[in-house]
């Protein structure tokens, strides 16, 4: 499903964020990405949906070779991936409902389908009563949940979460985790960068630890530990 071969990423300012990562994540896997602040987790994730391009190395996502794919196909790639961004990335001028609906309109879904699906996911993240709010009228955790709802509304084959519980209380975090597990059970690949030790240690899954842009550990049922 997702394969990387000796991938390097150096930002224009000279920071080497990813230093030779090779990895193979199969369809239906659930993978935690752990690592210290600034280790390169977000950079690793951004390369999968092509927000960033590697300086070197090959990345395959599904049938796409990200290095050779046409510019015009990038939207198709992105539609097959649901992303929860670390900084949420909600459209400030759209309501909660519209923000989520937008991700479906892009697929040219019908109006009534959109309405139904959006209300369903809002119910799951317990924000149905805030559907008509604008992002700036929400608390940090609420914004994060909107971002989660948007990521899963299209039933993508991969869901990538960059610290999806950073602004959530433990209870809500667990609800989100159970939701992700459920989605994963239906065959969706899940990649999740996180600092949440409790979660990683309790809900045992494959753990990839990144340290200084390198994979320092890759355990099938690992705990939260990224120091090598």
């Amino acid at each position: 499903m997702i394969q990387m071969h000796d991938v390097w990423k150096m930002y224009p300012n000279g920071v080497s964020a990813v230093n030779g990562i090779s990895i193979h994540i199969k369809q239906g896997e659930f993978v935690y990405i752990v690592g210290a602040s600034g280790a390169g987790k977000s950079t690793f994730i951004k390369m999968i949906y092509r927000e960033e391009q590697p300086t070197q190395g090959d990345i395959m996502v599904g049938n796409w070779n990200l290095a050779t794919m046409k510019e015009s196909q990038i939207p198709l790639l992105r539609r097959s991936i649901g992303v929860v961004f670390q900084d949420f990335k909600l459209l400030p001028s759209m309501t909660v409902f519209e923000n989520i609906a937008f991700a479906m309109e892009v697929l040219e879904a019908g109006k009534s389908t959109i309405r139904r699906s959006v209300m369903d996911v809002l119910d799951i993240v317990r924000l149905k009563n805030k559907a008509r709010f604008l992002p700036h009228e929400l608390s940090g955790g609420e914004q994060q949940r909107v971002s989660i709802a948007r990521a899963i509304v299209n039933n993508p084959s991969v869901v990538i979460c960059d610290e999806p519980t950073g602004n959530l209380d433990p209870e809500t975090s667990w609800e989100i985790m159970h939701l992700l597990e459920e989605i994963n059970d239906r065959g969706t690949t899940i990649l999740m960068a996180t600092h949440n030790k409790d979660i990683v240690n309790t809900m045992r899954k494959r753990v990839i630890a990144i340290d200084n842009g390198r994979i320092s550990r890759d355990d099938v049922r690992g705990g939260y530990r990224y120091e090598s």
């Binding site: 949906y49 001028s93 991700a103 892009v106 697929l107």
Partner: protein
């Protein structure tokens, strides 16, 4: 934000429109002045009636001549003596031996051809000499041509300015949306999908922005025209009648508004679509 863009378009098109009307009217004045230019052909006093007929035919047959009028010297003298006013009586004795020539008054099709026509006629038989105010009218032509050229340059300059300023304004409003466009792209929107609303917005912006200028200019010019044509004192000038002028201006403003709006909008969004 949108208000800012629309109002920028509005103000700019108002200036363009007002200026266009001014230029068209200046042009119109110039045309009128030029139309008055005529050549007076003084016929040789030795000419017989048949010679005069021949000459009249010759002149009429010139392609660059629009109209020919004949003023017999008796009529010329009448006009001259009448023009003397109170002193007319002192000139009555001129009737005994009329010192004037018969005159053809010739009008060229194009005012600019006046000089050339006058020279051709001068070379004909039985022509004593020709007169057409060489000095003044040469300068007048130069002046009206000058006004035309300056007017054209100014209006082009203003249009360019309008396009630039509007595009600038739109660009600024879109810079504010840079982040939004990036987010849309990350969520899987195609360029076309993102561009579409901007296209519509640009169009609306341009057309909306041109409405107020059109209404104001139409109303304003109509009132101005009515006021001016009522006041006898301005007979010296005549202004273009509102009907055709206003249609032209309105059409131009809507088109400029729409084109500039759409163009500015798409140009500015283009930059952010490359990611």
């Amino acid at each position: 934000m949108t208000f800012a863009s629309v109002s920028a378009v509005t103000v700019m098109l108002l200036v363009v429109g007002a200026f266009l009307m001014l230029i068209l009217n200046i042009n119109h004045f110039a045309d009128e002045l030029e139309a008055d230019v005529e050549i007076r052909v003084f016929v040789d006093r030795e000419a017989e009636a048949s010679d005069q007929d021949d000459l009249g035919d010759d002149i009429s047959s010139l392609t660059a001549v629009e109209a020919v009028d004949y003023i017999p010297r008796e009529e010329g003298l009448d006009t001259f003596i009448d023009g003397m006013g109170d002193e007319a009586e002192y000139f009555e004795n001129l009737r005994e031996e009329n010192p004037l020539n018969d005159v053809f008054v010739v009008q060229a099709s194009e005012p600019q051809q006046t000089e050339q026509v006058a020279e051709e006629i001068d070379r004909m038989d039985m022509v004593d000499n020709t007169e057409y105010g060489q000095q003044v009218f040469e300068q007048l032509f130069a002046a009206t041509d000058f006004v035309r050229v300056v007017g054209l340059i100014l209006i082009l300059g203003l249009l360019f300015t309008a396009v630039f300023l509007i595009a600038n304004t739109i660009k600024l409003t879109i810079i504010a949306r840079k982040k939004e466009i990036q987010i849309m792209k990350l969520v899987g929107a195609t360029n076309a999908f993102i561009r579409w609303p901007f296209f519509i917005e640009g169009l609306l912006l341009g057309v909306l922005g041109s409405l107020l200028p059109i209404v104001l200019l139409t109303y304003g010019y109509q009132r101005f025209y009515d006021a001016v044509s009522g006041a006898a004192q301005l007979e010296f000038f005549t202004f273009l009648p509102p009907e055709s002028l206003l249609w032209q201006t309105a059409l131009l403003l809507v088109s400029v508004g729409a084109v500039v709006g759409v163009w500015g909008s798409l140009m500015s969004v283009r930059k952010f679509l490359k990611t």
